[in-house]
Symmetry: C2
Subunit: 208 residues, 2 copies
Amino acid sequence: MKLYGYFRSSAAYRVRIALNLKGLAVEHAPVHLLRGEQNTPEFLAKNPQGLVPALELEDGSVLTQSLAIIEYLDATQPEPRLIPPDDRLAAKVRAVALAISCDIHPLNNLRVLNYLRTELRHGRKDVEAWVRHWLAGIDAVEQMIEPAPFCFGAKPSLADVCLIPQILNARRFAAPLDHFPKIMAVEAACAELPAFRAAHPSQQAGAD
Amino acid sequence: MKLYGYFRSSAAYRVRIALNLKGLAVEHAPVHLLRGEQNTPEFLAKNPQGLVPALELEDGSVLTQSLAIIEYLDATQPEPRLIPPDDRLAAKVRAVALAISCDIHPLNNLRVLNYLRTELRHGRKDVEAWVRHWLAGIDAVEQMIEPAPFCFGAKPSLADVCLIPQILNARRFAAPLDHFPKIMAVEAACAELPAFRAAHPSQQAGAD
């Protein structure tokens, strides 16, 4: 399998963690978002959204959307499970993943900040206030998780896979997290696992 | 079960369609977003995100996030299935649902437009341009679906459940859709089904 990603993309980072947790090796194909490589005809033929990540399977078909890719990996390579078998618990895990992936991350990604800067002509102060405003949504995540020590139990789930990249985004914008003891506990637990450490943006080819 | 929703919320509309397709009757508890009812302590105790929908189960526990709720319904009330059993097809269905739910809808919902109007002091022209810019993401959805006549085959899936509310959002902002023949075909097919018609915002108590 070949993963089209970008070292700093939160969504690609989620898929790297999931692949590592499952012990799946893939070829990494960097798509440099700042250089606009996601908008080439070649890449748009693979993902019409022009976004990373995209996972190319052995037969050449391409899966897109980080959570859809991780659900696919969890169905086809079930161990260790990232979506728990209990339906009620699975709903809680997915709710945290979606709270991050729908309600926090999309508002602060590169294309949105670029629109604020260029089309709407906002300066650094406005853009940073915007980012911090939506990052504050992580307060709800603190209330939704039940660390033991991972978000929902003794093993990492899709919730942890989404939370760790979001924590890095918060730190990039110096958003304080120290008053979230549950999130801090999850971060510490994940930092112990090589699967999370090896997926970190700083460990990817092309990281600056 | 009790569904906390709002007639105009796309995310609540998705859950209404899914419940109707599965023939599940629920009590409807309107949460009036324009009046700020989502931010009362009572509602925040049910959903710390202060968003609709939220589905209260018989034992009083509450599920949040529309896609997590629909995945739960699909696991516990499997017929008719909204996530196809084939893993590859399921990934395509989820990718369309997430392209809409992560990359189009969150950028144009009420709280974001309010931030543009109030904190960033943008007028109607800028806000409408913003909305249309992100609505244009539906172009990728046109390329991702394979209508026959629903998004992925002869029966509606989670992709259709997400696409129909997004089409309504596009029409509210007069975004043209006529050049998307596949999306138009899906809309026509869904309009034939009572489950979709009964879930329409105009059919809900409290609609204005």
